[in-house]
Amino acid sequence: MINKIVASIAEALADVRDGSTVLIGGFGTAGIPAELIDGLIAQGAKDLVVVNNNAGNAEYGLAALLKSGRVRKVICSFPRQVDSWVFDELYRSGKLELELVPQGNLAERLRAAGAGIGAFFCPTGYGTELAKGKETREIQGKQYVLEYPIHGDVALIKAEAGDRWGNLVYRKAARNFGPVMAMAAKTTVASVHEIRELGELDPEAVVTPGIFVHRIVRIPRVATQAGGFRKAA
């Protein structure tokens, strides 16, 4: 029997190894797997490469992971935020490497990894600093830059509901990087608020088919800023 549902976050993350590339979903307040990030901090793996759209806010979640000193490199599109002081300090003091990637390239490089594409030519960034040193090619009169996939060892994503085969649905704009990160990692761990029986998720509406998902852990629905629900008054 296939059962991808695990009882705890600790169990879901037990085998994350030092040096792993960890893909972390989320954009702004939507879709951040905050509980899984906290679990990764508790788990203790170090020398990590983290891929996320941003580089953490304030002192929680990804910022707390960075602050723990276990991240060697961040691959992201937009680290600078009003409250990204943890990243800013580590970056300025040279303790953290940054690979800045245009957001669409980040998504497409993840998708390419998941789809088995060796590399692809993309028009984004041609002639800019971010394409410096990269191979370029003119194709039918248009200039392109060669971009390579981003493979993850582990993906941590947040979905709304899932079943024991690993099928996932998301909630609103919390979907963002979840589906492409799920495809791009050797082991994908999804937190969900609801676990459904097989067949209960409408097969026409499944967003990430279970083949891309390895572990599902249920987390309570709490009114956190990152949880997608209005804070209790």
Binding site: P79, A107, T128, E129, Y170, F177, V180, Q225, R230
Partner: protein
């Protein structure tokens, strides 16, 4: 002759006037966001947000914010009936695949031939951040810039060659400013309109570049 600058609202209205019925549009963070409030009545325009929304609606009423439903600037928004959600690779395919009709962006500088600089001032020690700027700039069928023509020091932000780091090459079609609307062409700038009382000669003096009538 004396002339008056377009107000922020008047500028947003001027941009909105050129957005056609049925257009798929991405409005950048900052000044361009305000264009949404000025779409002329009777035109149905579908707004895209890079984080996976088509059919984005206005900000929710206070107390109804849903932090799973935010725009690219990470502010709470709503979804119009008929709207849809999708993942990031699809969202950027809408840009780079040429499906988006118009994107409106802010800028530090635009060159006469449409090079755009809007992601970095290149200051040493600054934390770099690019987000979706480079994908948007080259992806939409038309990229428009909305910005002040002049810096606080009175220098033109429309330049012969950008000195700030580039976002995209030759990608800007039109520039909407507080004083004028300009077209960027491979041959240089062309005048679309300017505020009343501002002569072409005076505008060329402010910009410091030839502007074809």
């Amino acid at each position: 002759m004396a002339y008056q600058k377009r107000s922020k609202d008047a500028l947003a209205r001027r941009v909105a006037q050129d957005i056609f019925d049925g257009a798929y549009v991405n409005l950048g963070i900052g000044m361009p966001t305000s264009v949404a409030n000025h779409i002329p009545a009777g035109r149905e325009v579908i707004l895209q947000s890079e984080n996976g929304i088509l059919g984005m609606g206005p900000a929710p009423a206070e107390g109804s914010e849903d932090y799973d439903l935010i725009n690219a600037g990470k502010q709470p928004v709503t979804l119009l009936p008929g709207g849809a959600f999708f993942h990031h690779a699809d969202s950027f395919a809408m840009m780079r695949g040429g499906h988006l009709d118009i994107c409106v962006l802010g800028a530090f500088q635009v060159s006469a031939t449409g090079d755009l600089a809007n992601w970095s001032t290149g200051e040493p020690g600054a934390i770099p951040a690019v987000g979706g700027a480079m994908d948007l700039a080259i992806g939409a069928k038309e990229t428009w810039v909305m910005m002040d023509l002049l810096t606080k020091k009175g220098e033109s932000k429309v330049v012969e060659r950008c000195t700030y780091p580039l976002t995209g090459i030759g990608c800007v079609k039109k520039i909407y400013t507080e004083l004028c609307t300009l077209a960027c062409t491979p041959q240089g700038l062309a005048l679309i309109d300017s505020v009343e009382g501002l002569s072409p000669a005076e505008l060329e003096r402010l910009v410091g570049l030839p502007i074809a009538a």
